[in-house]
């Protein structure tokens, strides 16, 4: 198998090619990163007459879905251009982006499919609460507001994508292995999806987890509808008499309301030191669609923004863990841009890889330094930290789809510098077993297994 990992801003975007040329695009990154780094490569594929068998969107977050939306928009632009030129408008401008290859299938668990009838209301509520929270004087609360606002955008993009691929538009077949319904782990596990020589085992999400998530959203909706109204109403009452202080109240719930505010959040907002706190992972991330891919004895683990507990549960369910509960894969796409909430040391000991792929450009301090450290510890750390997998003593490589040279923002650069320093330090004491690669220039790197 061949995995091309593109620069994708703070998101994920990879192209997986099987030995017989079947292709899966794994997420699309952001719109801009797609246009700059991915579109030219895909344009070359089209020129060769190649197609993409599956576009797989792990979950709805913007840094995974928007690039895919850009790709669909590019295709539409080309169809429109051809049409306009043919229908009496020869001066119609050629689209700026290269035309992407034909896409045969898309795998994507749309938010509104997961939530059924309450999807619209959850979206509206999120928008309303994000608007209130964004005015807070507390940095933490504002951060959560912006993550809610991001989610609102993501939900909208998921809806756009569903419309784009629908039968009355591009007509790309959705979730064909699941008969058009949600892609999830079945009990007993269904046969893996065959794509040429590749076998793709769904390892997440589980049906019961999706049900639990739906329940959480609905409870959040029920609990906070009244609360949100109350906050707005208090503010408006006071607005009647009108002083400047009261205007503040209207738009900015006071510090005293922080408790109320926290309850508005579907997440636990308390800071946690420990690695791998599942409570801190957002609902859409926990719903990530994840796969174990096999071809001719080689293995690749695609994890989206999922959580390690769910990954292990899924691997166990499809019978891929050994007696000791471990697995060694050729490639592990480290989950959630290497965030501290999605992985702990025991996971690193159980799941080892020859190639660890980190997608993240230093924003939100991802990849997290403690995560890099934990993975390294499971391979070259103290005896009690080491993995007991048979291959744990092999050489291994850390791959990063960004670097301090290419990431644009100041704070992200600073973080990528820390990452580089840590990785260099670890490599130095690994006795030549740990190698690393950062994208210092160009759009991508390739791993062949």
């Amino acid at each position: 198998m061949k995995l091309t990992v593109f620069q994708s801003d703070k998101g994920d975007c990879m192209l997986l090619e099987g030995g017989d040329g079947r292709r899966v695009l794994v997420d699309g990154g952001m719109r801009e990163s797609y246009s700059e780094h991915v579109a030219p490569a895909l344009g070359k594929l089209r020129a060769k007459g190649a197609a993409i068998d599956v576009v797989y969107v792990s979950h709805i977050d913007q840094d995974h879905i928007s690039g895919v939306l850009q790709m669909m928009d590019d295709e539409v632009d080309w169809r429109v251009h051809d049409y306009q030129v043919k229908h009496g408008n020869p001066k119609h401008k050629k689209p700026g982006a290269p035309r992407p290859p034909k896409v045969k299938h898309i795998w994507h668990n749309a938010f509104h499919e997961q939530l059924k009838r309450n999807a619209g209301e959850v979206g509206d509520m999120l928008a309303a609460s994000a608007a209130i929270l964004s005015g807070s004087d507390v940095g933490e609360v504002r951060g959560l507001a912006s993550s809610q606002a991001d989610l609102v955008t993501s939900i909208a993009e998921a809806i756009q994508l569903s419309r784009r691929v629908s039968p009355d538009q591009l007509g790309i077949k959705l979730n064909h292995p699941a008969g058009g319904r949600l892609m999830m782990v079945r009990d007993p596990p269904g046969a893996p999806v065959k794509l040429g020589g590749m076998r793709l085992h769904v390892i997440g999400p589980f049906e019961e987890d999706l049900a639990e998530l739906r329940k959480q959203w609905n409870e959040w909706l029920r609990d906070n509808k009244e609360r949100l109204k109350k906050i707005q109403a208090t503010a408006d009452d006071e607005a009647g008499t009108f002083s400047v202080r009261e205007i503040d109240d209207l738009l900015l719930p006071k510090l005293g309301q922080a408790k109320e505010l926290e309850a508005l959040l579907p997440l636990d907002s308390k800071p946690v030191k420990k690695l791998g706190a599942r409570k801190k992972v957002t609902v859409p991330n926990l719903a990530s669609l994840m796969f174990l891919v096999e071809e001719r004895g080689k293995t690749l683990l695609l994890t989206g923004d999922g959580h390690h507990k769910d990954i292990l549960k899924g691997l166990a369910h499809v019978g891929k863990l050994d007696a000791a509960g471990g697995i060694h894969v050729n490639v592990l796409k480290v989950q959630h841009h290497g965030s501290e909430h999605n992985l702990d040391l025991p996971f690193c000991q159980k799941v080892t890889a020859d190639h660890y792929v980190f997608c993240g450009n230093g924003e939100h301090e991802n990849p997290d330094l403690d995560v890099i450290q934990a993975i390294a510890d499971s391979r070259i750390g103290k005896p009690n930290q080491l993995s007991s997998n048979a291959q744990a003593g092999n050489p291994f490589k850390f791959w990063f789809n960004s670097s301090r040279a290419v990431t644009p923002k100041k704070e992200a650069k600073a973080h990528m510098t820390k990452v580089t320093n840590l990785v260099n330090k670890l490599a130095a004491k690994s006795g030549g077993r740990l190698k690393s690669h950062f994208i210092e220039a160009g759009p991508s790197f390739v791993i062949k297994v």
């Binding site: 049409y83 306009q84 504002r142 607005a239 009108f242 738009l251 900015l252 923002k409």
Partner: protein, 697 residues
């Protein structure tokens, strides 16, 4: 940003310019590149370096300036007015007979003694030097329509949505022109005829750039009036409908407008006036899409001011004429504008109002304008913040010389940053002389007094933001005196400072008082988050009057105050009352606007661009009421194509039915009452009926 006082390349030509235009001209390109992001009548040229290079100063990395850093931002004297900044203006000339293309730089069109032009600021001096120029004013910013979109799931409305529609004619032969935003979903089933073809005869998308879709429309000979945007003709639209299934794209994707918003305002409005389930189901439809560009950089390069409405009106008139020639019979035109402007004197004297008056002086034409949704001054239910939009008008009377009146003007802030330029205009009688003082929030220092014929321009306040005050006598268009106050954020490349939040106090001092009455309006910004500047959320936010200063009448949009427009209020039909959000009259010069009320509450009509399974949406606002009346006007014109706009207004006023509890006298919320379509048409048909009684004794 220049420190105002020292740098004023545009100086003595002052008396010919609206103060705001002068204030703009006396800032450099960089400042104007940032200003062009929110100022409707300012845009950067295609080639402007500043438009390209001045960063959008927002995002987590952007830094709001601290007080100690202000020094960094002061740049030196401005030597000349910038040439890469264009202003969209109306030029009023003394002699209407002086014609000819290119008399003024950037000239686009002429109506009577009014000329529209897009002028580089550097050319203003030259225009002012022209003896034939009386006055130059910026186009007024258009405000976003702000109807309430209701989330309830709605099913297809009944074919005869309007109670008495069964007995009404169908508008065959008339043209309904919709000037609006967010895109026309021409292939929505509500606009398809029995053969599946669209009833849209033309769409002019004013926002399209060259080559992005169809070519722009043809301008009238000798002008460049319509040389922008894209024109979609009926054959384009129908070919797109025919080819859509084969290409796997909806028809609107094949003929793309620059705005195609799911649940589009324009589509909803068009559906009410002229949809198959609307008021005039057989009328032809033409749409003009006013540009409201999506991205900041696009906004820098485009206009969305009232000159665009003037162009749109002329375009529709030209189209009606073309169709008349083709069909060899008169095609009358009924126009709807569910957009508004808040600037100017609210007495019909603004340039665009006079442009429209002139256009409507010819029979067979009519125009309806939404009164506006600024009627509400207090919250109506839990969680309601509609009142923010309602507190835009103040008025009062200074009883005698030496006395003062304070106006409290609230700018929202604290954690939020207001990056708009807030603007307050106070109009008073030419008999009087007022001086004015301004006190910023949390300050005990008054700025001023500024006496009549005095001004301060771009004075930097201690916090870094800017204040301008102009105290002017005898406005050229209505002779009234006026005071303009502008609060502007600091927009420097080194950083941004928003307008200080809180209560600004404006004190009017009676120097000489004979009448003493005054009216003030806030030039409304529509609230819109602009993104983060460091830790603060930046907004374009509506400022408003405090409860003490707000006066709950005369909030009708200034565009709806025109002499020859029919101004429409929002009737909540099941309750037989005016919706609380509907703007109230009268105009500043005490004319009766709104004229009438029509159903505008919980109106189900076409939902555009949302796919074949999601076809209908419910909205509330005067935006929904106005197209009802435009539809009725089309029915009247179809029955009697030679009616004038004034006659149509007269018939509507005569036949309107008072609401319960009301009388036949005009009411500032409902006008003369709710429209009676059947009576309007019956009366229209009688317009030429005369009985000669000379012989009878």
């Amino acid at each position: 940003m220049p420190r105002g006082k020292r740098s004023r390349p545009l100086g003595n030509e002052f008396r010919k310019f609206q103060p705001k235009l002068r204030m703009f001209a006396n800032c450099d390109s960089k400042v104007n590149a940032l200003r062009a992001e929110h100022a409707a009548a300012v845009a950067m040229t295609e080639t402007s370096q500043a438009a390209k290079n001045v960063p959008i100063m927002r995002g987590d990395d952007a830094v709001p300036l601290k007080r100690g850093e202000l020094g960094k931002t002061r740049v030196g004297r401005l030597k000349s007015t910038p040439s890469d900044v264009l202003a969209s203006v109306f030029i009023e000339t003394l002699d209407a007979s002086v014609k000819g293309r290119g008399r003024f730089p950037g000239q686009r069109a002429q109506k009577g003694n009014l000329i529209t032009a897009r002028v580089p600021l550097s050319q203003l001096k030259k225009i002012a030097a022209d003896e034939n120029v009386l006055h130059v004013e910026l186009g007024d910013p258009l405000t976003d329509p702000n109807p309430v979109v209701l989330a309830d799931k709605v099913s297809e409305p009944p074919r005869l949505r309007f109670k008495d529609a069964a007995n009404l004619p169908d508008g065959e032969g008339a043209l309904i022109g919709i000037i609006d935003v967010q895109g026309f979903d021409f292939s929505h089933p509500d606009f398809l005829d029995a053969n599946g073809k669209t009833r849209f005869v033309r769409i002019w998308d004013q926002g399209a750039t060259k080559g992005s879709s169809r070519p722009h429309p043809k301008s009238p000979p000798g002008t460049t009036q319509f040389d922008y945007g894209a024109e979609f003709r009926q054959e384009h639209l129908n070919a797109a409908i025919a080819n859509s299934p084969r290409l796997g794209l909806p028809p609107y994707e094949l003929e793309r407008q620059t705005q195609m918003v799911p649940g589009s305002h324009a589509t909803h409005v068009a559906s009410i006036a002229a949809g198959n389930r609307g008021v005039a189901p057989k009328a032809m439809i033409a749409g003009v899409l006013v540009s409201l560009p999506p991205g900041d950089l696009d906004i820098r390069r485009s206009f969305y001011d009232s000159t665009r409405i003037a162009d749109a009106v002329d375009y529709l008139i030209g189209l009606a004429r073309e169709l008349s020639e083709k069909r060899r019979k008169p095609v009358p035109l009924s126009i709807n504008v569910s957009l508004g402007t808040n600037g100017h004197a609210h007495d019909g004297s603004s340039a665009v109002s006079r442009w429209i008056d002139s256009a409507m002086s010819v029979p067979g034409r009519c125009i309806c304008v939404a009164a506006g949704n600024a009627g509400q001054e207090a919250a109506q239910f839990e969680g309601d913040s509609g009142w923010v939009m309602g507190r835009i008008h103040t008025s009062g009377q200074i009883p005698a010389r030496g006395l003062v009146k304070d106006i409290e003007w609230i700018v929202v802030g604290n954690g939020l940053m207001d990056l708009s330029e807030n603007e307050l205009e106070i109009w008073y009688s030419p008999q009087d002389r007022f001086a004015v003082q301004v006190r910023p929030p949390d300050s005990d220092e008054w700025i001023g007094p500024i006496e009549p014929r005095e001004f301060i321009e771009n004075r930097q306040l201690r916090d870094g933001s800017f204040l301008s005050i102009y105290n002017e006598l005898y406005h050229p268009s209505n002779g009234a005196n006026y005071i303009s106050i502008y609060l502007a954020p600091l927009l420097s490349e080194q950083g941004i400072v928003g307008i200080p939040a809180g209560r600004w106090t404006v004190r009017l001092i009676g120097d000489e008082v004979r009448d003493g009455r005054y009216h003030g309006w806030i030039e409304r910004d529509d609230s819109r988050p602009l993104g983060r500047v460091g830790p603060k959320e930046a907004w374009r936010f509506p400022s408003f009057f405090s409860t003490a200063s707000n006066v709950d009448d005369s909030s009708v949009s200034s565009l709806a105050c025109g002499n020859r427009v029919i101004s429409v209020a929002n009737l909540d039909e099941p309750f037989e009352r005016i919706n609380v959000t509907s703007s109230q009259g009268p105009t500043r010069d005490n004319r009766n606007k709104p004229d009438t009320a029509a159903p505008g509450t919980n109106i189900v009509a076409a939902k555009g661009f949302a796919g074949p399974k999601d076809l209908w949406v419910k909205m509330t606002g005067t935006s929904m009421a106005s197209p009802f009346v435009a539809g009725v006007a089309a029915l009247m014109l179809a029955a009697e194509p030679k009616l004038t706009a004034a006659q149509i207004e007269g018939i509507i006023v005569r036949t309107a039915r008072p609401l319960p509890g009301g009388g036949f006298n005009w009411h500032n919320g409902a006008g003369f009452g709710r429209i009676d379509p059947a009576a309007c048409i019956a009366e229209a048909k009688l317009i030429h009926e005369r009985k000669d009684r000379t012989g009878r004794r």
